[in-house]
C-alpha cells in the first residue's frame, strides 16, 4: 500500500516534453505511416468508386445493389471489419487497407452519383445539340460540373479515414493510432496526447487543403457563391 502510494504520487502529466524530444523519430514515422495509409485508402477508394459511381448513375438496375452493399460496409464497425479480415489476410497493411477503402466507398460513390445527377438537363441537351458524343459529354461537361460534389465527397472520405486509421493500431498498423494505443497499454498520457493532437491536426490540414484545391479546380462555384 505504502509502496504503491509512493509510485502513485509521481503524477503522470498530460504531456512530458522530454519524451517527445527523445522520440521524435518514432512520432515522425507514425505520422508518415498515417498519411500513407490515408492516401492509399482514398486513392484506391476513388479508383473503385469512379467506375461504380458511373454505373450507379447510368443504370437504375445496379444503383440499388451498389448503394445497399456500400451502405452495409459503411455500417459495419471498424474493429469488427478489421478483425473479421485478420484470419484471411493476417496482420498486414492489406487488412487495414481493405477495411479503410470500404469505408470510403459509400461517401465517394454517393457524391459522384448526386453530383452527376445535379447537372441540369438543359446543359446536357445543349451539349448534345452542339454535337458532343456521349464520352466527350461525360468527360467535358458532366464530370466537370459534378466536380464540387465529388470533391466534397473526397474531403469527407479523407477526414473520416484519418480518424479510422487510428483503429488499425489494434492490428499492428495504426500510424498515429499506435501512439494512442501505446499510451493506453502503458497508462502513459504523453503518446496519447501526441497521437490525438497530430491526428486532429492532420484531419484539419487535409480538410483545409482539399477545400483550397476545390477553389482552384472549380473557380466557377466560388464566383456563383459570391454573386
Amino acid at each position: 500500500m505504502l509502496a504503491t502510494g509512493v509510485v502513485g504520487a509521481v503524477e503522470d502529466p498530460w504531456i512530458r516534453w522530454s519524451w517527445i524530444s527523445g522520440h521524435a523519430d518514432i512520432i515522425a514515422a507514425a505520422l508518415v505511416q498515417h498519411i500513407q495509409l490515408t492516401l492509399i485508402a482514398v486513392v484506391v477508394g476513388l479508383v473503385i468508386a469512379v467506375p461504380l459511381g458511373l454505373v450507379a448513375w447510368r443504370s437504375r438496375v445496379f444503383r440499388g445493389p451498389i448503394f445497399s452493399l456500400t451502405g452495409i460496409l459503411y455500417t459495419i464497425p471498424s474493429l469488427a471489419l478489421f478483425s473479421a479480415l485478420v484470419p484471411f489476410t493476417g496482420f498486414t497493411i492489406l487488412t487495414s487497407e481493405i477495411g479503410l477503402v470500404s469505408y470510403t466507398l459509400l461517401i465517394l460513390i454517393r457524391n459522384i452519383v448526386v453530383g452527376l445527377n445535379s447537372v441540369p438537363d438543359d446543359v446536357r441537351e445543349a451539349a448534345q445539340g452542339m454535337g458532343y458524343r456521349p464520352l466527350a459529354e461525360l468527360v467535358r461537361i458532366d464530370i466537370p460540373l459534378a466536380t464540387p460534389a465529388i470533391l466534397a465527397g473526397v474531403r469527407i472520405a479523407t477526414v473520416t479515414t484519418i480518424g479510422l486509421v487510428t483503429v488499425t493500431a489494434l492490428i499492428g498498423e495504426g500510424g498515429l493510432g499506435s501512439l494512442i494505443y501505446d499510451g493506453l497499454l502503458r497508462d502513459f498520457k504523453t503518446p496519447l496526447v501526441v497521437g490525438t493532437v497530430l491526428s486532429v491536426a492532420l484531419a484539419v490540414v487535409a480538410d483545409l487543403s482539399l477545400a483550397g484545391a476545390e477553389r482552384v479546380i472549380t473557380p466557377w462555384s466560388r464566383a456563383r457563391a459570391t454573386t
Partner: protein, 241 residues
C-alpha cells in the same frame, strides 16, 4: 477442420451461451450501454440543437460541431476518457455520450432550419402562440431530421461500444478483443459477425423509425426525391467509427 466450420462450432458450443461471459449477456451489455449513452446524449443535445434552430442564432456552431467531431478519432476519445476516469463502464459511457452529441445537435438544428419561414408566419397568422408554433408546426417538420441525427449517433455508438472492450469493459467487443489476445481466431471472427449484425439491425430499425416519423405530407414521392451530396449543410453529420 476449415475455418468456417470452426466458427460454426464456436457458435454451437453451449458454454458460449451461458453466464456473464456468454453471448446473451454480452449482447445485453452492448445494447444497454449503447441505449443509455444515446438517451443521455439526446437529453443534452436535442434541446440545444432545437433551441439554436428555433432562435436562429449560433448556426455556425451547430453545423461545425459535427465536422470537429469527425476529425477527433473515436478511439482517442475513449482512451482519453480512460485517463480521466479510470477503466471500466464509466469512461466508456462518458466517451460514448460525447461522441453521440455532435450529430444530434447538427441534425436537429438543420431540421429546425428546414421549416419554411412562410409556414412559420402562417402559423403565427393563424393566431398560434410561440409554444404552439414550436410544438405543433416546427417540431413535426423537423422530426425526420432529428431522427436522422439519433440514427447516425446510435450506429456510431454501437460501433464504438465495441472498442470499449479494449478499456476493460464488456459488450460484444469482448469476444473480438479476447479472441485477439488468445489468438482464438474463430472466437474473434464470431464476435466480429455478431457486432456487424447488431449494427445493421440498429441501422435498419432506426431507418424504419425515421420513415415513420416523417409526417405524411412531407414524405417524398419516389419521382421527386431530392438528393443532396454529403458534405453540404444538409448532410454534415455522417460519421464512421
Amino acid at each position: 477442420m476449415n475455418f468456417a466450420n470452426q466458427v460454426l462450432q464456436w457458435f454451437l458450443n453451449g458454454a458460449h451461451w451461458q453466464g456473464d461471459g456468454g453471448i446473451p449477456h454480452r449482447t445485453f451489455e452492448h445494447l444497454a450501454m449503447s441505449g443509455a449513452s444515446v438517451l443521455t446524449a439526446a437529453v443534452i443535445a436535442l434541446p440545444v440543437g432545437i433551441a439554436i434552430g428555433h432562435i436562429g442564432r449560433g448556426g455556425i456552431l451547430a453545423i461545425n460541431i459535427s465536422n470537429i467531431g469527425r476529425a477527433i478519432p473515436s478511439f482517442a476519445v475513449l482512451v482519453i476518457a480512460v485517463e480521466l476516469f479510470g477503466i471500466g463502464a464509466l469512461p466508456a459511457f462518458i466517451a460514448l455520450v460525447a461522441l453521440a452529441i455532435p450529430p444530434m445537435v447538427t441534425n436537429s438544428y438543420i431540421g429546425m432550419r428546414e421549416v419554411d419561414a412562410d409556414v412559420r408566419e402562417a402559423a403565427r397568422g393563424m393566431g398560434m402562440r410561440e409554444r404552439a408554433v414550436l410544438l405543433r408546426v416546427e417540431l413535426p417538420i423537423a422530426l425526420p431530421f432529428i431522427m436522422a441525427g439519433i440514427r447516425t449517433s446510435a450506429v456510431n455508438v454501437v460501433a464504438t461500444a465495441t472498442l470499449a472492450a479494449l478499456v476493460a469493459w464488456g459488450g460484444l467487443g469482448r469476444f473480438i478483443v479476447d479472441g485477439f489476445g488468445l489468438q482464438d481466431y474463430p472466437m474473434m471472427f464470431a464476435g466480429a459477425i455478431m457486432v456487424a449484425i447488431l449494427s445493421l439491425i440498429v441501422e435498419f430499425s432506426l431507418a424504419g423509425a425515421q420513415r415513420l416519423a416523417t409526417p405524411a405530407g412531407l414524405r417524398p414521392s419516389k419521382t421527386v426525391q431530392k438528393e443532396e451530396p454529403l458534405g453540404t449543410t444538409r448532410d454534415t453529420a455522417m460519421v464512421a467509427a
